[in-house]
């Protein structure tokens, strides 16, 4: 079985490619798969009919007890034969139904084949969750197949309806499945049927599962999707919506009936809804002028009939139900395929425009008549055999004291009368001759196209006589249900009540046909109160509109609105929790040391001023002041590493912020505030208050000793004296690895946002300044310099002569001369020139001593970055390129690679990820250093930080410079001068 499923999947995957050269000839080729499986299944019939069960099992999700388990018993085998047999015939039929130029033919063939495979999986699965997976897969494939002609509105609408309704049912069913599987303690369907779940769990679970079955089999109130699905190509209708997919619900009812037919919820749902559906479908079928829709409503009716019969829960009803299922698959597929041929030949499916087809397509008319007769239950056809069995089973169950059996019998008899009437209507409508209608012009169809309906019609006839051959299989399933086992399927049982009922059915059916006009008047007079389709449209429309309104309501304020909402939740939620809390700290100190209140006061003033300040750059500088206040707090409270890092970051931040803000207008406008100022201030005050309370409460809640005491021995073990650094590069190195990954992502993001095309590379270089030449005086004719100078000279409204004069000045920085003399400061250039290399040395020093003293990769990298910032500020963008002639991305990548590589390399030595190893050495100046994997890791951090700063400078600095030069002289140029000065 599993092999068959894999074969279906594999062939379906290659079908679209095969279809390109093959065209519609791909259909007979792919039809080989279901044909072969059908043949294999046939060989199993004798053994399975004798009671043997074929099982296959592959463990899947052990923790949830879900296995890919498959089980072929009598019922599964019957369904599998129907699915593969009719699947093969329909695929073959497609060969003549489509033309080579049909759009997306390959996809269609693949989907149809995949559908057959999925359906096979559905009827053979023994694990409820696997069954559910196939169940939903049929919904999705059905959606795709109905929407094959995606250009037509009705196809899209129908596909979406089918998907919405069947997945709604499927999800409901999933809940029921979970209830049953949990309550039953197994996911095996056979086990759940053998040991049924009873009580409330069983009732609720089964009710929910039945909702799934009802929606899939298009029973009232979900029946409307099936007629709509007729927008699909006819082979799809014949297969999915007559023979295969809709049978899934019937299959499920039949599968569960042996275990659950006794539950209180079972009969009302199955027989009540089944019977009602049978009548509604038949009633509406009798009104249709579109032959395909007539069949579709007929299918709805028949599905109700099938569910009603197989759900009865007796042995005879099961036998009758499975026979009816087989009969229905044969005649309904034949009839749909016939409609497809009629549609192709005549160009319409509306019988009011058809006339004389019977005479001109006698063979097709004969096949269709046989199939329709089987539908109506006319002897000697399988439909008759099945219907006789149904009436007998219902009479017997009713006589045994089952009240629902009488309900079922009445519904079946009334429904069968309607069936007779619409069967006649179909044959007469398709093939009759109407004097008032001009014979339609027929387009000749290949004779082979009638092959599939012919075979199916013949099967309806042959199986009726071959009941002894098919009965053992059906009886093996039926035997799993209670009841006497004397009844056998046969054409002739002698004079018995069922025969009389059949006669009554034919009689009334004939009356309905004869009094057609009167029936039509009666139908027109009855109000259309079964209008589930309209109800559905209204419901979906209401949901859509509601969702749109909800979205507009929730997403109303833009970013400030959302932030305000988030903060409000923070205030209410955490503030409320904090008020209810009663843990207060043991004591409160006013401050740590005399300087802290002074620093704190300065920070408060700066923060409040930043709120009031409308000028961008001034506000940023005030924020910077709070940052430097942090440096002091950290420095005074035993956190030198933090003080160092904060100082470096604060400086770089201010520079970078100013670099960008120089291009923006100086003042922030205040018009049309989303959150008005008083509200903003109130939210801010409340948030701050909650934060203060939380801080006090959180400290009070800390009763257990800090893990800081445990960190000391760990740091010693990590060969580190600086515990903070040991935490960063060793004890909590995973965290740091994550952090530097974020930095790499951020740097890439920054570059991507600013560089319009291509964010790779380093800062711009001076042309001709490669290798050794960099050390020599710059070539006077360097084009880039010249043009850059000229541009800047234009901006400054200076003469070329002055620019020439400027360029010949002595320079301290390599690219100093690319800056206009007015913006140059010799003093700054000299300082930067003198300090740059020492700064790099210091950064490396910090990197290596970080393990034992304040410093480390972060601080070292930031110092190096700051040195680059200085070079850029003093010498402009070309200077940055000369100072760091490397690709920023390469630095970032190398750093991350080094850190991650170090982390992973310990695996090679049989250690866990990030486990460190060392060797120690005496190094002059630096003292004793222990080089370990954690040091390599820190070097990675260092490189990432340098790369980040370089990337920020070359984008937010150099690239924005270039934009400014490109956009020409405007107010911006003055601001540049201001910033540089």
């Amino acid at each position: 079985m599993i092999f068959s499923l894999v074969a279906f999947a594999a062939v379906a995957l290659v079908t679209p490619f095969a279809a390109r050269p093959l065209g519609r000839r791909v259909f007979p080729i792919v039809a080989i798969v279901p044909t072969a499986v059908f043949g294999w299944l046939l060989t199993l019939v004798p053994a399975v009919a004798a009671g043997e069960v074929v099982t296959e099992r592959i463990e899947w999700i052990r923790a949830l007890d879900i296995a890919l388990s498959f089980r072929l018993d009598a019922l599964s085998l019957l369904l599998a034969l129907v699915v593969t047999g009719i699947g093969a015939l329909v695929l073959l039929y497609c060969t003549w139904y489509f033309r080579d130029d049909e759009p997306s033919l390959g996809r269609f063939a693949a989907l149809l084949l995949a559908f057959a495979g999925v359906m096979l999986g559905l009827v053979t699965a023994d694990d409820v969750y696997v069954l559910f997976t196939f169940w939903e897969a049929t919904s999705v494939l059905s959606y795709l197949l109905i929407a094959h002609d995606a250009g037509r509105r009705e196809a899209r609408g129908a596909a979406l309806q089918a998907l919405t309704v069947t997945t709604f049912g499927g999800l409901t069913m999933l809940v029921g499945i979970v209830i049953l599987a949990v309550a039953g303690g197994t996911t095996s369907i056979s086990a759940l049927v053998a040991n049924p779940v009873t009580g409330l769990a069983g009732e609720v679970g089964i009710a929910l599962v039945l909702v799934g079955a009802i929606s899939k089999s298009a029973l009232v109130p979900f029946h409307f999707w099936l007629p709509a699905a007729m927008a699909a190509p006819t082979p799809v209708s014949a297969y999915l919506h007559a023979a295969a997919m809709v049978k899934a619900g019937v299959y499920l009812v039949a599968l569960l009936a042996p275990g659950y037919a006794e539950l209180a919820v079972w009969h009302p749902v199955v027989i009540g809804i089944g019977g009602f559906t049978m009548l509604v479908g038949g009633w509406r079928a009798l009104r249709q002028t579109d032959l395909k829709l007539l069949l579709a409503y007929g299918t709805v009716s028949q599905l109700g009939f099938l569910v009603l019969v197989v759900g009865q829960g007796t042995r005879d009803a099961a036998l009758a139900g499975t026979a009816l299922l087989l009969a229905h698959a044969l005649f309904k597929a034949a009839l749909f395929l016939t409609v497809g041929i009629v549609d192709h030949a005549a160009g319409t499916r509306d019988w009011r425009r058809l006339s004389g087809l019977g005479r001109r397509m006698p063979w097709l008319a004969a096949f269709a008549t046989v199939a329709a007769a089987s539908m109506a239950g006319v002897p000697p056809l399988l439909g008759f055999v099945a219907k006789e069995a149904v009436f007998s089973a219902q009479l017997e169950a009713g006589a045994a004291g089952e009240p629902w059996a009488w309900v079922a019998l009445v519904a079946a008899v009334l429904g069968s009368m309607l069936t007779v009437a619409y069967s006649v209507r179909f044959v007469w409508g398709a093939f009759g001759t109407r004097p008032d209608v001009a014979p339609v012009e027929l387009h000749r169809e290949p004779a082979l196209m009638s092959l599939a309906p012919a075979l199916l019609a013949a099967a309806s006839l042959v199986t009726a006589f071959a009941t002894p051959a098919i009965e053992p299989l059906l009886a093996t399933y039926a035997a799993t249900l209670p009841g006497p086992d004397e009844y056998h399927l046969a054409l002739w049982h002698g004079p018995e009540p069922a025969l009389a009922i059949s006669a009554l059915v034919f009689g009334v059916g004939a009356l309905l046909v004869w009094g057609r006009a009167a029936v039509a008047r009666l139908q027109a007079a009855v109000p259309d109160w079964i209008e589930a389709a309209r109800g559905y449209v209204h419901l979906v429309g209401a949901v859509d509109r509601g969702a749109a309104r909800l979205t507009t309501f929730i997403q109303s304020g833009g970013l400030p609105g959302y932030l305000a909402t988030i903060v409000a939740v923070f205030i209410v939620g955490l503030g409320g929790a904090a008020i209810m809390n009663d843990t207060l700290p043991a004591g409160i100190r006013f401050a740590d040391g005399p300087a802290q209140p002074l620093v704190g006061l300065a920070m408060i003033v700066a923060a409040v001023a930043a709120v009031a300040m409308r000028q961008r750059i001034a506000a940023v500088l005030l924020v910077g002041a709070t940052g430097y206040g942090m440096v002091l707090v950290f420095g005074m409270s035993g956190a030198p590493d933090l003080a160092l890092t904060q100082a470096l970051v604060e400086t770089i931040t201010i520079v970078v912020v100013v670099l960008v803000l120089r291009r923006l207008p100086r003042r922030v406008t205040t018009r049309r505030a989303v959150v008005r100022a008083p509200v903003r201030i109130a939210i801010g005050v409340l948030a701050g208050a909650v934060m203060a309370v939380l801080g006090v409460v959180a400290l009070g809640a800390r009763t257990a000793p800090s893990i800081a005491e445990g960190l000391t021995p760990l740091a010693i073990e990590a060969h580190a004296k600086n515990i903070v650094n040991a935490l960063l590069v060793d004890l909590r190195a995973w965290d740091t690895l994550g952090e530097i990954s974020v930095l790499v992502a951020v740097a890439t993001g920054v570059a991507s946002l600013i560089f319009v095309s291509g964010r790779m590379g380093g800062a711009p270089r001076l042309e001709g300044a490669g290798r050794r030449e960099r050390l020599r005086p710059l070539p006077e004719q360097a084009d880039s310099m010249r043009s850059a100078r000229r541009r800047l000279a234009d901006v400054e409204h200076e003469t070329d002569a002055a620019a020439e004069a400027a360029s010949t000045r002595q320079t301290w920085l390599l690219a100093g001369r690319t800056i206009s003399p007015r913006n140059r400061s010799i003093l700054v250039e000299v300082l930067v020139r003198l300090l740059f290399h020492p700064a790099i040395v210091v950064s490396v020093y910090l990197l290596f001593v970080g393990h034992n003293a304040p410093g480390g990769g972060f601080a070292g990298g930031l110092v190096a970055g700051l040195a680059l910032v200085a070079r850029y500020l003093a010498g402009g963008r070309y200077e940055l390129g000369e100072a760091a002639p490397v690709d920023a991305g390469a630095l970032l990548g190398t750093g991350l690679f080094l850190a991650a590589g170090t982390a992973a390399s310990s695996l090679v030595f049989g250690l866990t990820v990030l486990e460190s190893s060392w060797f120690e050495a005496e190094v002059p100046v630096l003292g004793t250093i222990s080089i370990g994997t954690s040091t390599l890791f820190d070097i990675g951090v260092y490189l990432v930080v340098v790369g980040l700063v370089l990337d920020i400078l070359r984008t937010l600095g150099a690239e924005i410079d270039r934009h400014m030069d490109d956009t020409g002289p405007d107010t911006v140029a003055e601001e540049t001068a201001e910033v540089r000065a």
């Binding site: 009104r287 429309g541 749109a548 997403q555 920070m603 930043a610 931040t653 400290l699 004296k721 903070v724």
Partner: protein
């Protein structure tokens, strides 16, 4: 554990001020608010270390009992550097939106009403489209009914 009242108050003021600024419509103000909130939260974390002591460096002759709690310090150190990265990213966003808009001083404002109207119209179009699909199939069904779908 005891708290330093000064630090708690400073952290709360930085946080509150940051939130108040963040709620404005200018992205630059959002950035300024973000920086303030970042500092406030870092300070808040720092107070969780309890009473400060010596720098958490195991120099010779130092009693581990006297050291500051290193754990919040490690967290804050990471946070400071991440803040730098996020700041740069927000700056890039600010510059990019200004560059694209080129609308002078309205350039770095977050759009609201106009965009929402557009969104709502787009959603309404989608709903109309799917409703039209539904109507199309309903018409086909009605057309086949003998009295041509009275309802």
């Amino acid at each position: 554990m005891t708290a330093s009242l000064t630090l708690v108050i400073v952290a709360a003021v930085l946080f509150g001020a940051g939130i108040a600024v963040m709620l404005e419509r200018s992205l630059t103000r959002v950035l300024i608010g973000f920086l303030l909130v970042g500092n406030g939260v870092n300070l808040f974390m720092f107070t969780m270390g309890g009473e400060p002591g010596l720098a958490p460096i195991l120099a010779d002759g130092v009693d581990p009992e006297d050291l500051s709690d290193p754990l919040p310090q490690a967290f804050i150190l990471t946070a400071i550097v991440i803040n730098l990265g996020i700041t740069a990213f927000m700056l890039a966003l600010i510059y990019r939106s200004w560059w694209l808009a080129q609308l002078g001083e309205a350039g770095d404002l977050i759009g609201d009403e106009d965009e929402m109207v557009e969104d709502a119209e787009e959603a309404a179009d989608l709903i109309r489209s799917s409703a039209a699909d539904e109507r199309a199939i309903q018409e086909v069904l009605d057309a086949s009914d003998e009295d041509g779908g009275r309802a």
